[in-house]
Amino acid sequence: MKHGLSWFNVGSLVLGFLFLYLPIALLIIYSFNESRLVTVWAGFSTKWYSAMLQNSSLLGAAWVTLKVAFTSSCFATVLGTIAGLIMSRFGAFSGRTLFSGMIYAPLVMPEVITGLSLLLMFVAIALDRGFVTVTIAHITFSMCYVAVVVQSRLVSFDRSIEEAAMDLGCPPARTFFQITLPIIAPAVIAGWLLSFTLSLDDLVIASFTTGPGATTLPIQIYSQVRLGVTPEINAACTVLVGLVAAAVLTASLVTRRQEIRREAEERMAAATA
């Protein structure tokens, strides 16, 4: 059997990617529309971008969102990396089943449940809702994604390098920082980016856990979308999509280059040993 693409394969790829990308492409195109009507093309214009830049509630929400996303993704990356390490390197310990349950369940848990339960808990411990509570909520679900990403990287890499370091008398903590962390760095960076975009994106959990003065961008966009589709929102969405796409593409290219280099180095080390 030949290893190649049939017409059916090419067709499903083309249609699949059209389905995935066409809606976003149309959204971007119509953000440059002169007309207020979203479906009538009246010529190229960037006026909605300047309208967006003068919308102070939108800009304020964007600033809050960036702060929440940055803080929560940093914490989530640290906690998630530790959790991923525990899942793949610590073997059996009492309470492991509960631990892995708490790592995997948030990945599929309906957001309305997570949001409601966190809110009720913040009320129960009388923590004022706002920046802090949204950030805690985002750390909690993001760290599970980081844990899974880091863990899958740890499963696939050669453990004997770590064992060699420990056999030579390197203490576990130092082995982690000098051997393990540099090798899993691409996964850790990917985990950070994933947490950042998850936080940037979250509407439901943030709606439950936020308070006055901490309106995030998705909440702001949602409340405007309910009033109707406007080119101004299209413009804001385009900026957001562009930023995320640029960040993800750069990160993936950088980590891929590093991975290729590292694999080459590992091969060289194996050949000279």
């Binding site: 309906p110 957001e111 449940i113 009720l120 576990p172 130092r174 000098q178």
Partner: protein
């Protein structure tokens, strides 16, 4: 990670590595030197005798976080689901009251659950959520499988780019992707415009604010979750099995059903779980794309909480939703755990 200049300049690389070594050595070196002091050594010994080892501390950090912010909140939801609504802040009755004479009054009510079972709205919401999620999952599988299969058949040097193209939409905002469909599906939207111009239809179709729009939204938003596990599974498949089937006279289509599909079953199951479970509790898609008659439990919970402000009843809705989902969630977790230890 070494700074970028370290690649080109070997001396810089050596300096960087030895700098890192001195740093890391600093911490454990300090620990070793401090052990010479009796007080520090006694403290370390005491911690060890109490069972507080480095390993346990490392486990405790994420463990305690998840206990506090994932498990404990559920227990609180469970507790409040047995309370009654009152006009106060917080708007529910306490389960336990400490009386002045030292007695403890325990007050729990199952009225919320009885109400959920009595009122058709809630049962219909649960059933309709399960139906919509199941149909959308099936559609996502039917659309996702050919994509994942074609990615597997593609030349190796294309695969990374194709993989990135599947992942990229997943990184862009969920809300924005759902929002984009409003402009396409509405009556004077781009889809109707295109179909009218092509002469396929004479009257604009009503798609927005129907269940069809919800199916489209779920399939579109969750498609990467279906394609990725399928592709990860298909990629590992030994293509010589298909060659063997062909040599033995099996036609390609039959070989696909007899060899490829059974082998990719773990990927199919993982993908279906990843789409089905979150789709059952979905709120944004039915709210923005669905109509007033689209019943989904996530939407019901949302309006119970934000519009009716009935915290105890929305807690009961959440508890029942979790009970509905607990079997698929446990099955999913078992499967992940098995993969993790491979």
């Amino acid at each position: 990670m070494p700074p970028p200049t370290a690649d080109r300049d070997p001396a810089a690389k050596v300096a960087f590595v030895s700098g890192a070594a001195a740093n890391a050595g600093g911490v454990s070196g300090l620990h070793a030197r401090l052990l010479l002091f009796p007080a520090y050594k006694a403290l370390v010994d005491l911690l060890h005798r109490l069972g507080i080892t480095g390993r346990r501390v490392v486990i405790a950090i994420p463990y305690l976080w998840l206990l506090a912010f994932f498990l404990a909140p559920f227990l609180i939801v469970l507790k409040i689901s047995f309370a009654e609504i009152v006009i106060a802040m917080p708007p529910y009755t306490p389960l336990i009251t400490f009386m002045e004479d030292g007695w403890i009054a325990f007050h729990a009510s199952i009225d919320n659950y009885l109400f959920l079972l009595e009122d058709r709205l809630y049962i219909d919401s649960y059933l309709s959520s399960l139906k919509i999620a199941a149909i959308a999952t099936l559609l996502a599988l039917l659309i996702g499988y050919p994509i994942a299969y074609a990615m597997m058949r593609a030349p190796k040097r294309w695969r990374f780019a194709l993989l990135m193209m599947v992942i990229l939409p997943f990184w862009t905002s969920f809300l924005i992707r759902v929002y984009a469909w409003i402009g396409i599906l509405k009556k004077e939207g781009l889809l109707n415009l295109a179909l009218l111009n092509l002469g396929v239809i004479d009257q604009p179709l009503t798609i927005l604010n129907t269940d069809t729009a919800v199916y489209i939204g779920i399939v579109y938003s969750y498609l990467p979750f279906m394609v990725l596990p399928l592709y990860a599974n298909l990629e590992k498949m030994d293509l010589s099995l298909l060659e063997a089937a062909a040599d033995l006279g099996c036609r390609p289509i039959k070989a696909f059903w007899v060899v490829t599909v059974p082998l990719s079953l773990p990927g199919i199951i993982a993908g279906c779980f990843l789409v089905f479970i979150p789709a059952v509790g979905e709120f944004v898609i039915p709210d923005l794309l669905g109509g007033s008659e689209t019943l989904m439990i996530g939407k019901t919970l949302w309006s119970e909480f934000f519009n009716n402000r009935d915290w105890p009843l929305s807690s009961a809705v959440a508890v029942l939703l979790l009970l509905v989902l607990v079997i698929p969630i446990v099955l999913f977790q078992r499967m992940q755990e098995r993969n993790a230890q491979l």
